[in-house]
Symmetry: C2
Subunit: 300 residues, 2 copies
């Protein structure tokens, strides 16, 4: 055996390296999530879904031009309209450009960077045919202005709350957070409770999860490791939850309750969601931004 | 015959009189619109609608308490889920209180009135079962801060545009406007085109109509007369349009197109609609404010 000193590659990372590594990782996460979701599509055995063809993801790329006509990056939508997942989108994007002056004032480090920004991330929203399978949302992102940080989170939006599922979902995120910093879970759980709240209805959007933003601990490597763990934890936890309930029977009343719950989801996304506001403010791809909207929703 | 000088009653109106007269008139307009819509429900003869029971309006009152716990007025919702009108709401409200400091800065005359306001109005949104019957929206209102003014308008949102219907709808408003001021129609039509526009989709919400706000010509009587004419013109024009198309046959594809169009309507209402923002900002009744949302909507 040769004793070799391990090279600390990360200490040598410059900002461009970090951007490439993060953007590539969001793509890898997207691939692993889509593969799992397609596997789930093939596994369902009960009720009418089993007689439908299994869904596969359809990809669609988009590019973005900035206001002055130059390249502003772009993204790739992956949408599946399947027999378990009535509609699920797993979008990645890597964009750059300049914020409007007004918007720059709301984003840390943007005003003193003449509005210049770079952002890369993954965004996922899943709506199911079976009202017993909880819809979910997850997002992870790296953002650079004159500052740089990670943000992300995930939340579960069951139509019918189930303590066992709620516990399982939160336990997954708690274990994930605790692997990085014992202060993360309580802080990010509270942030999720505050963020995923439909103020005008005075009701939560779901049973929460975690939400974090502006994460810059001083170690990009540590923050990136946490963000990766959040993405993988969500994937594994959520796939287990979908598999657990996808073969349950449901009634017309269950479906009706699901469609009304989706109406609330639409209200949250169009009125409060940061990703939606960010996307629309930065001239993002509208189809990709509004991929989060359910295929069908009802209001009383 | 005795020669009697006609008493100019309106010159003697104080602000409280104006408020009462306007609020009562909005109620009367509501009654006449609901009566017409219920009559229409009884007239449909074709397709599956004719085998359903005719709808009737259900009324629901709500009251509003201000942040300091005092009386803040209230309103009355009238909602009908019928066989022609899949869901229609005709709401009236008369509210008063104080705007938040931030919101007061956006409303003429509110900041120098310590945020105090009074507002009364009628708001109507109609969604139909038959995709060939165009959905519509209408609103008229009187608002008082340290200033006082009228606002309102109406627009038509056909799933399938029809030049004849568009012409008829606009001709009605043009004739109405021209009875009061030849400058109104071109100005208020343009305002509607600008206002009823879904910026992030870069598409109009429908075929427009008229929109006006901050109308204070110097004569309350003239502005009120115009506002009354707008309400009555909308009622008469719209009822004619509903009757014209309600017995047409439609296909599953037509229904699908209708539900997707409704998705766009939801986007407009939750992202841009002034009445929605005003209502949510002033602690209005959420059920009444979001009455405008369709019973069911779809997204691609």
């Amino acid at each position: 055996m040769y004793a070799m000193k391990q090279k600390d590659v990360t200490a040598a990372l410059d900002l461009d390296d970090k951007k490439s590594i993060a953007a590539q990782w969001f793509r890898n996460l997207r691939d692993s999530i889509c593969a799992e979701f397609e596997a789930i599509e093939n596994e369902v055995t009960a009720h009418e879904c089993a007689s439908m063809p299994a869904g596969t993801f359809q990809k669609k790329q988009w590019s973005r031009t900035t206001e002055d006509g130059s390249d502003g990056g772009g993204g790739e939508m992956s949408v599946m309209k399947g027999r378990v997942f009535e509609k699920v989108g797993v979008n990645i994007s890597t964009v750059h450009g300049r914020f409007s002056k007004d918007f720059a004032e709301k984003i840390p480090g943007a005003s003193d960077n003449d509005g210049h920004f770079w952002a890369s991330g993954l965004s996922l929203v899943a709506h199911h045919r079976n009202p017993h399978v909880p819809p979910a949302h997850m997002n992870t992102r790296m953002i650079v202005t004159s500052k740089e940080w990670f943000g992300g989170g995930g939340d579960l939006n069951p139509i019918f709350e189930c303590d066992e599922d709620t516990g399982f979902f939160h336990d997954g995120f708690k274990a994930c957070c605790d692997r990085h910093d014992p202060e993360y879970y309580p802080k990010y759980k509270d942030w999720a409770d505050e963020y995923f709240f439909i103020k005008h209805r005075n009701e939560s959007r779901g049973i929460g999860g975690i939400f974090y933003d502006y994460l810059d601990s001083g170690s990009w490597e540590a923050d990136f490791a946490f963000t990766k763990d959040v993405g993988e934890t969500f994937r594994d936890t959520y796939c287990a939850l979908v598999r657990k309930s996808m073969n349950r029977q449901w009634t017309e009343e269950d479906r009706e309750a699901q469609l009304l719950k989706r109406g609330r989801y639409v209200e949250f996304n169009l009125v409060y969601d940061r990703g939606t506001v960010f996307g629309l403010q930065t001239g993002g791809n509208v189809e990709a931004i509004l991929m989060s909207l359910p295929p069908v929703a009802k209001w009383d």
